[in-house]
C-alpha cells in the first residue's frame, strides 16, 4: 500500500485530513491528521502540497526499538516500545510522522482501509499497491 494523489482530480477540500483526524484522534483538526493534502494558489498558479505515506519503510529501519514495524502491507506503531528519540520524525522523507505529547503519530493506513481514501469525493487520493 501507498497513498498517492492524482492532482487533476483534487479539489483541495481537506475532507481526507478531517477523516483522518476523526478516525485517529477522535476530533476534527486537519493539523492532527497523518497526511497533508493542500491545494492552494501561489504566484505561479495552483499548487499541490502533500505529505503522504509512501511505505518507504525508512522509519522501520531507523527505529532503534522496533516500535514501528511493517505488517500486512502497512505500518504498525507500538507506543510502549517508543523511546521518543524522534529519529523517525527527522528521517521521514514525506514529513508524515509527527510528534505527540507521548510518542509519535504515523499513518498506519487505518489497518488496511484508509479513511482518507474512503472520504475523497473524487477519488483523487488512492491507495496503490507497492512492491
Amino acid at each position: 500500500m501507498a497513498l498517492k494523489l492524482i492532482e487533476e482530480l483534487c479539489i483541495g477540500c481537506r475532507l481526507c485530513q478531517l477523516a483522518c483526524s476523526a478516525a485517529k484522534e477522535e476530533v476534527f483538526n486537519p493539523e492532527l491528521a497523518r497526511l497533508k493534502v493542500i491545494s492552494t494558489y501561489t504566484k505561479t498558479g495552483l499548487n499541490y502540497t502533500t505529505s503522504l505515506c509512501s511505505m518507504c519503510l525508512i522509519c522501520v529501519g531507523i527505529c532503534p526499538t522496533e516500535a514501528i514495524t511493517h505488517q500486512d502491507g502497512h505500518l504498525v506503531y507500538d507506543q510502549d516500545k517508543c523511546t521518543n528519540c524522534g529519529s523517525c520524525i527527522t528521517e521521514c522523507p514525506e514529513k508524515v510522522i509527527t510528534s505527540r505529547e507521548q510518542g509519535i503519530a504515523l499513518c498506519d493506513f487505518c489497518g488496511g482501509s484508509p479513511a482518507c481514501v474512503e472520504w475523497c469525493p473524487h477519488h483523487a487520493l488512492i491507495n496503490q499497491e507497492v512492491n
Binding site: 479539489i11 477540500c13 476523526a22 476534527f28 493539523e31 493542500i38 498558479g45 469525493p121
Partner: protein, 586 residues
Amino acid sequence: MCYTGKLLRVNLTTGQSQVEELNKQWAVDYIGGKGLGIKYLYEELSPGIEPLSAENKLILMTGLFTGTIIPLSGKLAIITKSPATGTILDCSIGGHFAAELKYAGYDGVILEGKATKPSYLYIEDQNVELRDASELWGQGAQDTELILRDKIHEDVKALVIGPAAENLVTMSCITSEFYRQAGRGGVGAVMGSKNLKAVAVKGSGSISVPNIKQFVDTLQEVMRTDTLTDTNLWVNTDGTPLLVDLNQDTGILPTRNFQEGTFDDYQKINSDALKTVRTGKKGCFSCALGCGNYSRSGRSTVEGPEYETLAIGGSNCGISDLEAIIEFNDLCDNLGMDTISVGNVIAFAMELTEKGIKDFGLKFGDVDAYLKVPGLIAAQDGIGVDLGLGVKKLSEKYGGSDFAMQVKGLEFPGYEPRGSWGMGLAYATSDRGACHMRAWPVADEAYGDLDPFTVEGKAQLVIDLQHYNAAKFSLILCDFWALSMETMGTLVSNLQERTVSEQELTLVGERVVNLARQFNVREGYSKDNDTLPERIFKETLKTGATKGQFLPREEFEKMLAEYYSLRGWDHNGKPAEAKLQELGII
C-alpha cells in the same frame, strides 16, 4: 456542542481585544452565520449610523457546522451595515478562513472602531495582535495574502482587502484564497474605513462532536447519497458557467444592460468555451463538489469567471471576448471589487453614453474601454469617480433611472426578472438590495414547472425560498448543495443530540428574515424601496423564450401585497408587532 462558546471582540481604535461568551440563547434562536451575525449587529448598532464611520461594526461569524466533516460547511458569514444601500448586509465567503477561526477557538469576531493607522489583525489561538500594515497598504488582494504567508506562516488563512476598499469604493469586496470574495454591498469598504487591511488567523485547536465515529459514518453516507448526486454534480463538471446555456435558452441572460434576454454570441462565453481554458478545479474547506474553475487566458489567470461575471460582465456589456472577461475578472479580483456591481455600472454607463445622456466613452462591446474601468474605479480616477458611485447614485446624478438596474442601491445579478416574475419579487424584497442569494425562484420558474409569467403562487414561493436560504446560511452550508430542509434538520440533530425538525429550522429562517427586515425598517426602509426599475415594468424583451414579455407593475404590486400579507407585515412592508412577538424578536 460544536460551538467554541467564545467571541472575540476587537476595538480597533485602542488595539485592545477581549474574549466574551457567545450568547447561548441567541445561538439557539439564530444558530450562527447569517442569523447570529444579524442578531448581534441589530442589538449593538444604533439606527442611522454612517456605514463608513467608526461606529459601524464588521462581524465575522462561523456556523454550527464549521470545522466539521459536514460537506460544504466551510464558508464564513460577514455581517455589517452596507455603505452601498444602508441596509443590513450579510455576505458569505468561501475559502478556508472560517474553519481556521474556529480551530483558533472563536465562533466569531466583532470588529469595532477604527484603527489609527493601516493595520492588520493577527489571531493565533489566544494571542491577538493588531499589527502595522504599512507595507501591505496599497497592495493588491493577492499580493497581500502572499506577503502574509511569507511573514507569518505558509498555512496562515486571511481575509484581505485590495486598493479599491482602501479608497472606500462602495463596490469593493473582501477576498480570501485569491479568488473567493465576500462580494456585495461594499463590505470591503467597511473594512477599509476601519484602516484594516487584513485579518489573519492560525488555529491549533480541535472540534469535538458527540459519537464522532458514528457521526463520520453517517456523514459519509449522506455525502454519497445526497451530495455527490447528479443534482449537485453540475458544480464539479462545469461550475456556474453552465448557467450561460440554461439562461440563453430560457431567455433570461442579461444582455446590454438588461435590454435583452438572449445574447447571440453566448457560445463564446459559455461553459464549453471556458473548458478550453480551464486548467484545474478547486473547492473550499470541506467542499465535496469543487465549483472553482482555474482558468488561464492571455495574460490573466483566475479561478472563474463565474456565471455572474460572464453574464453581468460579459453579455450585459455586449462583450463576447472570453479573454477580455477573464482579464476583467482578474483585475476586479486583485483590486478587490464585486464583478456584479462593476459590470452593471459599466453596462449602465454604456447605455448612458449610447443614448447621448452622458458620455463616458463606453460602448457595448468595446473591450478596450471596458478593461480600463476597474482600475479607474479602484483608484477613484477619471470616470472611475462617477462610476464608483454605483448605478443608483449615478442615475440620480445624470438620469436614466428607468434603466438603472438596481434595488435599494445594489445592482442586479444575472437573471432577467421579466423571464421569472418570482425573481422580480425576490430582488425587490431581498434584505440587501437586488440579490439572488436570498431566494432563487429561477430554478422553479425558468428551469422548472412553474409558469414564469404569472404572479400566481410566487409570493409563497419566494417566502419559502427565503426561509430556506436564511436557515442554510446560518448553519452555515454552501448554496450549491441542494439538500432539503429536512436533511439540514437531520444534520443539526446529529450534532446536537436532540431532534431538530425541518419546522424548527424553517422558523429560524423566518426569524432571521424578519429580524433583517426589522433592521431595515429601523433604518427607514419601506414599501417604496421594494420595487424594480421601470425597464422591468414597461419594456418588452424581443428575443428568444421571453420574447414579448415584461412584468406589468400592477401584477408586481399584487405579488408584493400578497407577500406582505402572507408574511404578517403591514401594507408598508413593516413587520407587525404580533409577528415580531411570535418570532421572539421583541
